[in-house]
Amino acid sequence: MFELRKVEKRFPNVRALKAIDFEIRQGEIVGLVGENGAGKSTLMKVIYGAYQHDGGEVLKDGIPVRFENPRQAMQKGIGMVFQEQSLIPNLSVMENIFLGFEQQFVKLGVVNWKKMAAAARFQLAKVKLDIDPRIITAKLSFAQRQLVELAKVLTLEERVDGDLVILLDEPTSVLAKEEVELLFKLVRELRSRAAFIFVSHRLDEVLELTDRVYVMKDGEVVDHVVSAEASAESIQRKMVGRDINKEYYREEKQLPYDASRVLVELRNATVPGQYSNVSFQLHAGEVLTLVGTEGSGREAILRTIFGLQKLVLGDLAVKGRKVESFSAEASVASGVGYIPRERKVEGIVAGMNVYENITLSQMGNYSRFGFLRIGDEKATAKDWIAKLSIKASSEMADCGNLSGGNQQKVVLAKWRSGGSDIILLDHPTRGLDIGAKEDVYEMVRAMNADGAGIVLIADTLEEAIGLSHTILVVKDGAIQKRFDCSAGTKPSLFDLVHYMI
């Protein structure tokens, strides 16, 4: 029903898609997996019309088509559910659903809001979401927004003849377990209305949901398997092109921490509305993981340690000294480094090159009387590029053009080269492919070995368990349970979930 034949896409210096063959039949759910940079997102953009292919052909119902923009793709029944935040926050839900297609509600130039609301309710019912369509989108939860997004794409059903193809780009990455279940149930039910292309890093989910899976690597489809017959390991091997080390989280390198050296101590720390009565110690060489759902208060704790949020009650002591004035600058000066979740926004400065990014937090070390010693900066950057095997053409490369994993390495290098020994990791592996994740785990162990303490908010519970010495389960702003997580005594997933919900 929808088919790509030998599709090519070139960018200056890059052949992003090489002779892609891809097919989806009515009512199918097809998976699309691959490491970052394998060409998944380029392929998706070609499918929904954001990019135009340079070679080969795209066929809908056997007829060659060419989409100049997403709107043309939609008119052929191809819709996209974006990974995050593709709804416009300041508009109402119904306006978002019918954005660009308001004409059906317009009479003599006037929009009939009642009619639109009724139509929106009809769409929302398809995804089983019971909200007032007039509500401003910004007020919805993340999961709700995801469903609105799906409802929006499903409007194509009424609008176009023929069958729908809906792309789901990492729809589960920020959803809680039960929300994922709900979504999957919905997608299965909707098979009667549309075919789905499901793009995800989570192979277990891909195998669970889809009928077939396309595996991409280096701009090519390297494999194409039937889900029921495939295993996560085999797909992973195809994606990476090698075996995944059994010791994924480098547990064998986990050494006991130095309990005599307390780096950070929180005592009865309270920020009303965020968390209350939180106490813990972080030691040299320790990975301490805060586990909890989104909004449980773990981010706020991290922000407090970094000085972005002031404590209302209780104490924070960094290396034995009580923190009086909360500021990021003071925290950085006392050795705290922060690796934020929003890597592209808060982690690196796109438009600045590698050495500028690496020294950004510690320009004092590379300057005298306010003047920078650029030679030293470059030397340090070269050092760390080698040390962390950052794939960049040189220390002069623009960080905005690096891949996600290499950007993350630059952020790590920024703090490590500055001698930070208290590292706050907020979802450090989010959106990274397996190879890059392994690199991050490697670095975590290396930092531990150097005596650094790490506060981690992990991407998955497995990651939390694998990396930690200590796990604190946070719920509703309070620490519910402390798990000792030293090598060999690790708790199970179930143990954690029990206290989380």
């Binding site: 709107r71 593709s86 416009i88 926050p89 508009l91 306006e95 954005l99 660009g100 297609f101 929006k152």
Partner: protein
Amino acid sequence: MPNLSFRGGDLQRWAPLLVLVALVVFFSMVNPNFFSLKNFARIGISATPPLMIAVGATFIIIMGSIDLSMEGAVAVCAVVFASIFMALGGTLGGWGWLALPACLLVGAACGLVTGAVHVGLRIPSFMASLSMGFVGIGLSLMMTGGDRIRVEDPLFRSLLTQRFLGFPLMVHVAFVVLLFAWFIQSKTTLGRNFYAVGGGEDLAHASGLNVRRVRIAGFALAGVFYAFGALFAVAQLGIAETATGYNFMFVSITSIVVGGTALWGGSGGVWNTLVGVLIVNVINNGMIVMGLPRYVQDGVLGLLVIIAVVLSTDRKSLAFVK
């Protein structure tokens, strides 16, 4: 708890109006003459042309762009209107009325060109509109050779001279135009699309919205309102000239922001702009009414504008401000 914060947000929304009320109360206390129908009518007259211009620019700012071409556009509209008006007999009684729609069309054309330059050449609106403003001033100069065109038709001037409920006709007509703007803002697809573009341009584009067309349409629409502003300015002074457009650029944008429409787009609207324009005009009128020396007026206006904006910005919701 969330209920309470919601009410806080609401208070912020009404802040510009409260500032306006506070200013009126303050000036009335200093000089009771301020609080009179006659003075409100005077404020109404001086606020009418800038209101029209600010309303037009509001749509642009909602889109997250900026328009600095109003001085040129107003000059062109005023001069074209007066030229046609005089050529067709110089009175609304005769064929002269044709100059009114012609003026609005010219305004739309000015905006269309600015929008097309901005979108077509992918030049930031700041520079595109600034440059087209120069071109507009130049065009009006070419048409007039620098002379003034006097429009003395009593019928047209009745916009200023005839009163209804204590206010000149132009104030009433402007209010109707304002309702029209509100209608566009809230009841039409185009109006809502401005908010979509301002709320997230790439998202809107990905949703299949023709953002380029919305942008150009926005500039053309703004041009129509500049034309209204030009008409009222001519009605107010009886003169159409290149200088008819002067002083409107910074005043209108200041008014928009003071009214609570954010420069980064996606929020606010024409009612905010009405309040903002009134705040600025009340301050200007009030400073003279209370007898402040001319040389401190610029400074006091600056201070009050800062205070008004501070009060009406929800600072907690902003990560940072450019």
